[in-house]
Amino acid sequence: MFEQLVFYAFAAGLLFAATMVITVRNPVHAVLFLVVAFFASAGLWMLLEAEFLAIALVLVYVGAVMVLFLFVVMMLDINVAALREGFSTYVPAAGIVAFLMLAAIGLVVGHQHFGLGAVPQPPAAAADYQNTAQIGRVLYTQYVLPFEVAAVLLLVAIISAIALTLRTTRQTKAPRPERQVQASRADRVRLVKMVAVKPEPDRIENP
């Protein structure tokens, strides 16, 4: 009873936030609604006792990816009005595409795969059950090859992203700390002894 209440609360929150992501006008609001959607789905995973996945979702998507999203979206100068121009002319074509997509998704993951009859009640885990250890064990034994391939793919993506955006040192005026710390006093300052050019002023008495 209580679990169902929690489930429906999170599910309603998720659907509402997901709808707002694509309907709200302000892109920053859209990103923030996406954050809410991630939180709601993390809550749903938590209900399934998948605490590692739930917290990892918040940690990776909300804590890092969406921060960068927000970072970029805030810097963009989007003219919302221009984006919305010609909405009515695109509606028929877009409607057909949307219907086809919906039909395709419905055929692949339709109602026959869901519902209480199709999915058995997951057994409640013991109190000392460790979701994290469980996932780690499977990931590093049974699925070690796909896991490593995914890691290499990500590494390739990182390196290519850096290679695409890297500016050579010639183009930037970024200071080089390794050279800065090598500077010594002798390079910059020279003390010379010389005779005073002007005569020393008379000593001013304290009034």
Binding site: A56, L59, G63, L70, F71, R137
Partner: protein, 370 residues
């Protein structure tokens, strides 16, 4: 003790209501002293920095007129002043987000305390993924800052928010990797188990085998809380006050509550993960000393003492270091801390596999479970 209270409460209300009431009571018992500590940390900071700069710090507002407590009423006077001030919402600001931002900043700083163990049995929720929970919540604090900077519709605030976002995301990685080292060493994500894995004395705590990770964690913690010398998001000499420049009254105060609560949290986590949490640095035999024996043994007082030590470091940094240049902050995070943590995780893993005494001689919890 809580069981007894639960039984008593269950006589007057349904079972579930009693559980919730006890939970709320525990939260209040954690948060009220925390808020008190935050208030008096501001006084401590002003006093400590004052003495370091050869001046007295606040010494006018006394506490109930007791003469030698000059300055002790200052945090309360400050709180009242901030409560009385008008909340000004700037023209062109996004009103809802502007008001939401301080709450978003404060909430994770308080929620993270749910899994911090104060003693072997003193913890609000003893969850297995405690370390992950802490990482997830500390990474949420940045939202308050970014939303505040954007919603204020002010250039200075926005600049501060951008600086802060980039800085926090960068240091989170080094921080996360430092914690990976801790979980390899302890073999558990549960904060209570991490403390238990350090059982022994001063020398069996994780700060010796994980020394580079300890330094990196603490420095990243200073950067994550936007404290000097990493306080470029406020940068009062460059961008006025950064992300909270448009805030007045209680909204402004909430940002400071969040910053100080985060400082206490980082200090607490450093002591849990590297300095044995509630454990006493003295050997077990010292508990048999008459009269003060219990004080010398394990207990919450050691935890508080360690938190206090790290908080003092925070204040010391602020009084002595000049602000880092922004590009050097980034360089330190990405090019210095990240490689060191990755290398040291390999070192720690080797130490654990070789079962190097005195830290890793006993099998870890994960190994026992397999």
């Amino acid at each position: 003790m809580t069981e007894l209270l639960h039984q008593q409460l269950a006589l007057y209300m349904p079972e579930m209501a009693a559980t919730i009431a006890i939970m709320l009571l525990k939260i209040v018992v954690i948060l009220l002293p925390l808020m008190g500590c935050v208030a008096y940390l501001t006084l401590l900071e002003r006093k400590v920095i004052g003495y370091m700069q050869v001046r007295l710090g606040p010494n006018r507002v006394t506490f109930f007129g007791i003469p030698f407590l000059g300055g002790f009423g200052q945090p309360i006077a400050d709180a009242f002043k901030l409560l009385m001030k008008e909340i000004i919402i700037p023209d062109g600001a996004n009103k809802f987000l502007f008001l939401l931002a301080p709450i978003v900043a404060l909430a994770p700083a308080l929620a993270a305390w749910a899994v911090v163990p104060f003693g072997s049995e003193m913890v609000l929720t003893n969850i297995n993924a405690g370390l992950l929970y802490i990482l997830a919540l500390t990474s949420l604090g940045v939202y308050g800052i970014i939303i505040a900077g954007w919603a204020s519709n002010s250039k200075y605030a926005f600049l501060g928010a951008m600086r802060s976002a980039a800085q926090i995301v960068s240091y989170e990685i080094a921080m996360g990797f430092a914690l990976v080292g801790v979980l390899v060493a302890a073999g558990s994500l549960n904060l209570g188990d991490i403390v238990q894995a350090q059982r022994g004395n001063l020398l069996t705590w994780f700060w010796i085998p994980l020394f580079p990770l300890f330094l990196i964690y603490f420095i990243s913690g200073v950067a994550e809380t936007n404290r000097a010398p990493f306080d470029v998001s406020e940068g009062e000499s460059e961008i006025v006050a950064g992300f909270h420049v448009e805030y007045a009254g209680m909204g402004f105060a909430l940002f400071f509550l969040a910053e100080y609560a985060n400082m206490i949290l980082i200090s607490g986590l450093t002591s849990v993960m590297f300095f044995g949490g509630w454990m006493s640095p003295l050997p077990e035999s010292m508990t048999h000393v008459p009269v003060i024996g219990t004080l010398l043994g394990d207990g919450i007082h050691w935890f508080v003492f360690k938190i206090f030590l790290f908080l003092f470091l925070f204040l010391w940094f602020r009084a002595t270091f000049p602000r880092y240049r922004y590009d050097q902050i980034m360089r330190l995070g990405w090019k210095v801390f990240l490689p060191i943590t990755i290398v040291w995780i390999v070192v720690v893993a080797t130490l654990v596999v070789l079962k190097v005494p005195p830290w890793f001689a006993t099998p870890t919890l994960a190994g026992a479970g397999a």
